[in-house]
């Protein structure tokens, strides 16, 4: 038996065991969903390198870690995590520690916003809230997302009422501690903005340890007519962690989504963002910045589907690679035959600080309509020696000059994190991360 098929059979048994062990009163009605996801998992198995979307990203290391599907019931009180909260005013806070919702750290009382968590919704059989879970993701698009559906335990359920404009961000933060070591967590979030609602959601994954664990995340975002979401995402997991995120976005007529993603942590991370335009007039912007250094892999897959006319999409991703860091960027845009008057632009730029670093970048535009505006561009470059000389001739050390140029490269994306204090914090993180690496990089 190969490692993969052995793993599939092991995972299947463990998953069946997990589901069988769930108390019936905890969302028993979801059991059907769970079992169908198990079937889905058996059909799909784990992705492998023969599949184009996984060609450059091996899951072997992840499977070898043997992460265990188990739940934490830890409830944190006190202030030890407060410094991880967003600065400034917020319109609600949802905190998870090691995968479990933390009522005393969270603030769910925001007028016009329904903030709940998946576990409590299941326990109280809150069908009204739960009925939308899985509508975009289905039972799973690959083995891992099927496992998420089969064993999902907790996550944020956020619904912003029609017409409501939130002028402060919602803080959604998942913190992993040393107790997460060796475990697979399966968060599942569902974000719904009703008609004409406007909100900013800051979604972050942080760690207080260097331990290895696995975040296997599915997040669904539904934007109703004219709703507008700014979605700022930060993946800052432990340096040994594995992070897999599937993000599904659906936009109704004239809705707008602007997402910015920073991937800076984890040993291995992959984020797939898929969006579908359900009606004309919507716009979707995806921005991203990834950093990969020694021993790190970071992978972004974008899947933008123009299935209706008159929608705009724009993707702008940048990467900084150093040491033997590896990154994969796969940006796919499909403009279907009926999707006339579409506008779709994709750009990916990479800055290589080391000869040992590797990037596989693949923009794919499939355009079947004839009246569209589409473009794509990809660059892979190094630090400009003239720029370096210029800064050094003004007294900056080579190391400092390199850092400043890297931050300059990143700034176009960082600016999308609107809050000044968050931007400063992230810029500081980036500097720390690349600081030692840029010293005498070759």
């Amino acid at each position: 038996m190969t490692l993969q098929s052995q793993a599939v059979s092991d995972f299947q048994k463990a998953t069946q065991h997990y589901i069988a062990g769930l108390p019936l009163d905890r969302g028993a009605w979801l059991t059907d969903h769970r079992w169908s996801a198990v079937t889905r998992f058996s059909d799909l198995g784990f992705p492998d390198k023969r599949q184009e979307a996984w060609r450059y990203t091996s899951i072997e290391g992840l499977l070898k870690q043997g992460f265990v599907t188990s739940d934490s019931d830890m409830e944190v009180v006190g202030t030890e995590f407060e410094h991880h909260f967003l600065d400034g005013p917020t319109a609600g806070r949802v905190v998870f520690v090691d995968g479990a919702f933390q009522p005393s750290l969270s603030d769910t009382h925001v007028p016009g916003v329904r903030i709940n968590n998946l576990r409590s919704a299941m326990e109280t059989s809150d069908l009204e809230t739960l009925k939308s879970v899985g509508t975009l993701s289905g039972p799973g698009t690959h083995g891992f997302s099927a496992l998420n559906m089969a064993t999902m335990r907790d996550g944020a359920l956020i619904r912003v009422s029609a017409g409501l404009r939130l002028d402060a961000p919602i803080d959604l933060v998942s913190i992993s501690t040393s107790s997460a070591s060796g475990r697979a967590m399966r968060p599942r979030h569902l974000i719904v903005l009703e008609q004409d609602a406007e909100a900013t959601l800051v979604e972050r994954y942080l760690s207080t340890s260097d331990n290895a664990y696995f975040t296997n995340l599915v997040c669904e975002v539904l934007l109703e007519e004219r709703a507008s979401l700014v979605h700022q995402r930060v993946q800052q997991e432990s340096p040994s962690a594995y992070h897999l995120a599937d993000l599904h976005i659906e936009l109704q007529a004239d809705a707008s989504y602007r997402g910015v993603n920073l991937a800076i942590g984890g040993a291995w991370s992959r984020t797939k963002i898929g969006n579908s335009f359900a009606a004309p007039g919507a716009s979707c912007e995806l921005h991203g910045l990834y950093l990969a250094g020694e021993g790190q892999l970071v992978d972004f897959h974008l899947d933008v589907d123009h299935g209706v006319p008159g929608c705009d999409s724009r993707e702008n991703f940048r990467g900084i690679l150093y040491g033997n860091g590896r990154a994969v960027f796969d940006g796919r845009i499909l403009v279907q035959k009926q999707a006339q008057k579409s506008s779709a632009h994709l750009s990916n730029a990479n800055l290589m600080l080391s000869r040992r670093a590797e990037i596989d970048t693949k923009p794919q535009l499939e355009i079947l309509a004839d009246d569209v505006m589409c473009s794509h561009g990809t660059t892979v470059g190094q630090i400009d020696p003239q720029a370096l000389f210029y800064l050094r001739s003004r007294g900056l050390s080579e190391e400092r000059a390199r850092r400043l140029l890297c931050l300059g490269f990143a700034s176009e994306i960082l600016e999308q994190f609107e809050s000044g204090s968050l931007q400063d914090h992230l810029a500081e993180l980036i500097q720390q991360k690349i600081g030692s690496e840029t010293k005498g990089a070759s």
Binding site: S393, E398, A410
Partner: protein, 250 residues
């Protein structure tokens, strides 16, 4: 302050500077003129420490130290400044951040305290007014999308902030209209002081109408072929370089 002796420099195996001798004392302004390809910019770059220039002979002493032995940033710390002919655009690098980092790097090297944000802002606003640089440009990325004149003013602003001992202006006048030229020249003249020396590298004598040099050198074929006072500039304007080249060949 600066003593260059028999400096020879090659670029990609081709000898560009074929033995330069030049002495610059504190308080002096020297102009270096010459036809295209004479080695003017090479001289400026090799003094600032740019990569790609191989010194094959001679030496350069700056404030009693072997200049060629110093790293690029160390030269800046010692008080050398090169205003570039083509200032580099740095998209995403904020001009104020850059100026402040630069000033504090130089101050640290001089053993001075770093300047705090308030003191720095006061200083930079005053200096920007002096060189007539729009304050809006301070908040933008360094040189990105600046006009030719704005880039040169930004160079002069950096010079005014860093207060170097020796400033080399490499073709700072190129591509400037007469108003911009005058502003740049005013900025340079403000920098004149008994403790500071300036080397103005230029292709045209026009700039020298605004910045009067104490000494003028004509560089041709990698050598200084003639030196004189500021009156030489007018002679060059009337007669061109031809007579000097012939004289030198003879």
């Amino acid at each position: 302050m600066l003593r260059i002796r028999d400096l020879r420099t090659s670029v990609e195996g081709k000898e560009i500077l074929k033995g330069i001798d030049l002495e610059v004392k504190a308080g002096e302004v020297h102009a270096v003129m010459g036809p295209n390809g004479s080695g003017k910019s090479t001289l400026a770059h090799v003094l600032a420490g740019r990569d790609g220039y191989q010194v094959t002979g001679g030496d350069v002493e700056f404030l009693g130290q072997d200049l060629l032995d110093l790293e690029v940033e160390e030269r800046a710390h010692k008080g050398l400044f090169l205003a570039m002919q083509y200032p580099v655009e740095l998209p995403g690098v904020n001009n104020l951040t850059f100026l402040r980092e630069s000033l504090n790097a130089v101050r640290r090297a001089r053993g001075e305290e770093e300047m705090d944000a308030v003191g720095f802002m006061k200083l930079v606003r005053r200096k920007a007014d002096e060189v007539k640089l729009d304050h809006k440009l301070l908040k933008r990325s360094v040189n990105a999308g600046f006009s030719g004149g704005e880039k040169k003013r930004n160079e002069i602003l950096q010079m005014a902030m860093l207060e170097p001992r020796l400033a080399i202006l490499d073709e700072t006048d190129s591509g400037l209209d007469i108003d911009a030229l005058r502003t740049v020249a005013d900025g340079v003249n403000m920098m004149r002081s008994p403790e500071r020396a300036l080397i103005v590298v230029t292709h045209y004598q026009r700039l020298l109408e605004y910045i009067e040099p104490d000494h003028l050198h004509v560089l041709a074929g990698g050598r200084i072929v003639h030196s004189g006072g500021k009156e030489l500039a007018f002679e060059l304007e009337e007669r061109g370089y031809g007579w000097l080249l012939e004289e030198n060949a003879a």
